[in-house]
């Protein structure tokens, strides 16, 4: 196989980035989605719109703002420096933060839909059986929203694997740290190494197809999916 050591490292790094991002997104996205699904606040629409922004914004916009704000003179940069962490551009942590922004709607929206579909009925029933709110969440909401969590995880993971523009702008192309598969494909194409580009690009294509196929097959088999 004509994949170089750097290519293999890029693939591993991509999987690592996507896994970690998905975990962070589930922890962060669940309360946001829950709040969005249940609230009548006048902030519901503005917050929902902010969460959905990465769907329509070019990744270069997110990348540009992250580059400036995570830099030594930016808001995030000043904060991380005062915490003794230095700046986060050109680091794996920086990529995780960028990816969390970039893939947020892909996790929040399926979760929100799942929570809205459950409605208030099952929770009220749980309350009459004296289940506390946390108890009700873990024993009633989680099992009912399971398909939503599966969709959110798969989409969050796959969308992060497909990330390019943000990484290009804040990554710095460092092998093993920020050189992910999509950037490595760009490097190969730019330098006319088409054989390696084909291997990586073909792999990405196959991966994406399998993920979506699994997701759609899972949907049609489960009636619980609305």
């Amino acid at each position: 196989m004509p994949l170089t050591h750097a290519d293999v490292a890029a693939v591993w790094l991509t999987l690592e980035l996507a896994s970690l991002t998905t975990v962070v997104l589930l922890l962060l996205g669940t309360p946001i989605a829950w709040w969005l699904a249940r609230t009548d606040s006048r902030w519901k629409q503005p917050i929902g719109a902010i969460v959905a922004l990465p769907l329509v914004l070019p990744p270069t916009v997110i990348g540009f703002y992250l580059l400036v704000s995570m830099g030594p003179h930016g808001v995030i940069g000043q904060l991380t420096q005062s915490l003794g962490l230095g700046t986060l551009t050109f680091t794996f942590t920086g990529l995780v933060i960028g990816s969390v922004f970039y893939s947020l709607p892909f996790v929040v929206q399926p979760l929100q839909n799942a929570f809205e579909a459950i409605g208030r009925g099952p929770l009220e029933a749980a309350a009459t059986l004296r289940a506390g709110p946390w108890d009700a969440f873990f024993t009633v909401v989680l099992p009912l929203a399971k398909p939503g969590f599966v969709t959110a995880s798969v989409l969050g993971f796959a969308h992060t694997v497909g990330e390019f523009g943000v990484v290009l702008m804040i990554g710095g192309n460092i092998p093993g740290k920020t050189q992910v598969a999509s950037v490595q494909i760009y490097n190969h194409v730019e330098t006319m190494e088409y054989a390696q580009a084909h291997w990586l690009a073909g792999g990405m294509l196959l991966f994406s197809f399998i993920v979506l196929l699994a997701l759609y097959s899972g949907r049609s088999n489960k009636r619980i999916w609305q």
Binding site: G86, T87, G172, N173, I174, Y186, E190, T191, M192
Partner: protein, 252 residues
Amino acid sequence: MRPGIFHTLCTLVAALAFTSNVLAEQVQVAVAANFTAPLQAIAAEFEQDTGHRVLASFGATGQLYAQIQHGAPFEVFLSADASTPAKLDSDGLGISGSRFTYAIGSLVLWSANPSYLDGSSAALMANQYRHLAMANPKAAPYGLAAREVLETLGLSAAVKGKLVEGQSISQTHQFIATGNAELGFVALSQVFKDGQLTGGSAWMVPAELHTPIKQDGLLLKKGEHNPAAAAFIEYLKGAKAAAIIKSYGYQL
């Protein structure tokens, strides 16, 4: 339609036809990113003097080469090295005999911080920075020159893990200008105008530390029959362009 309005319309159409002068043509130029600022200045003069229009696309030399290979509509190519135009020539995509050197580039180690570099390589050798930026050596000749400098100075191993790469010399400059990398290797033309630095601090890298950055231009097959393409190349070789090119720190 009343005759008055009809007459006005005719006059308008005639006026529009005249403003898009029959003699004025457009030339599409692919330009290595380091030459962005001088090219914009030259193009403005050229447009004023000849009435032709310049449509410039800027990118890393390797990236532009790949685009030309795949049928990009460029008519003139201004590379950041000599070997890429030679390759295009032997690929049959250039007009033989049209190759010429339009500038010799200078590499500079630059920091946006006005007190970081003191005109010497001291800060580079001290190795106290978190990130040192350079262009991708595979795609950008200035990146290749930067790598040679690090090798010559025996720093390659020491800076490993601190090196961040821009996809072109423009992105490299942006990493440093935003302060994300404390210092890095860019083209002198990016930080220099009329005999002085436009900001920050720098070390002018001695030319003997790397292979000379001979920047060649080439008339491409697509521009063979475009008089504006030939005119632009002639203009680049002229005294007016030479003065602009030198003002950005290039040798000629």
